[in-house]
Subunit: 206 residues, 2 copies
Amino acid sequence: MPKLGMQPIRRRQLIQATLEAIDEVGLADATIARIAKRAGVSTGIISHYFAGKDGLLEATMRHVLNDLGTAVLERRTALGNAPPEAHLRAIIDGNFDRSQTSQSVMKTWLAFWASSMHHRPLQRLQRVNDRRLYSNLSCQFRRVLPKQEARDAARGLAALIDGLWLRGALAPEGLNVERARRLAYDYVRVQLDAARNTRTRANDYA
Amino acid sequence: MPKLGMQPIRRRQLIQATLEAIDEVGLADATIARIAKRAGVSTGIISHYFAGKDGLLEATMRHVLNDLGTAVLERRTALGNAPPEAHLRAIIDGNFDRSQTSQSVMKTWLAFWASSMHHRPLQRLQRVNDRRLYSNLSCQFRRVLPKQEARDAARGLAALIDGLWLRGALAPEGLNVERARRLAYDYVRVQLDAARNTRTRANDYA
DNA sequence: AATTTTTTATTGAACGGTCAATCAATAAAA
DNA sequence: TTTTATTGATTGACCGTTCAATAAAAAATT
């Protein structure tokens, strides 16, 4: 029953099936036959809508990346020009959004990280994302910290977020989102406290 | 020129060739033909000494893991029962040891992380390692922090180490070891300062 | 309204290529 | 002569891609 406008529907189905297949058997064994079967379509469809398997994988990564961007942006636009700490927390929350902490998405991220090391198109996507996180964090820290310290705080927090996230993906019990967020919040608080103490001490001298 | 006692020599050669192949083309394209060629032997040798490709990959991961364990242990035994901060720094230094921060080893780690999610033997190895790091850190923090805070500090530091490490592996400019260590040291200092302040405050009350 | 034509959607068998594993053959040392 | 080391062609399985065939809807035509 071929209707018109199937493309967006099929694309969504296939991307979802890809995430599930990677969750189930890993990227290495996520064959197009398996993905197609999961989506309830034939293998030919994949080449038809994505110009091959690589296209599907790239689209899948782009989809996950998009969800992440949206999750962060949603929380931040709701903030207006709130203090830096609020924005930093929003960024943290966005990174630990439900759309990014499901088993299938975390496994897919990890698989893409590994394969992005040798696959140019994926590498590009991954780096854009990395820089965005670092730049967002750096920008907010900069509002209360000197340049160099802001950079280091951003680097540290970015690493902490990715690390919590990575260990959550690998752990048999999965990621404890609440705890992860708390640990990241603590890191932010400490970095900002350092700034506050500096200011206070400066006042003491006055 | 077949002599006796080739086994350990070939095993070392093949493990090294595996690391190099993964560095060059990634785990997915690290075929036994490519690895064998790099080691300057025939493909049959791999099955002969490792009972198949899986055996070689597992041995390779075990080898990297062993280097890590040694790097940490060496630094710690040189410390005797020094204060916790010294041990924590030794653990950090071990994790950022030269044997763990080469391009090839970092790429291999990442590849193994991804594939350990679906490959039981690798999963076992990876979890033993994860727990060891957490347990070591937790143990040292426990010497100066209450149980719950020691655990959180250990979880945070473990995540920070892995995160710095991960971002270093992914970054085009590679891992800045010096900076990574400094950021990890800072985290330790902050956690321990919190303990010191608590003690000081307690004394103030006395 | 009924028809033909065109477009869009989909299938799945066939093809070319690749890979890991095997094993008979070979050769040097013991 | 026996043991250990090694080779590399062969084999069987599998994977991604292609494409001719099919079918349903939409558009055009009568």
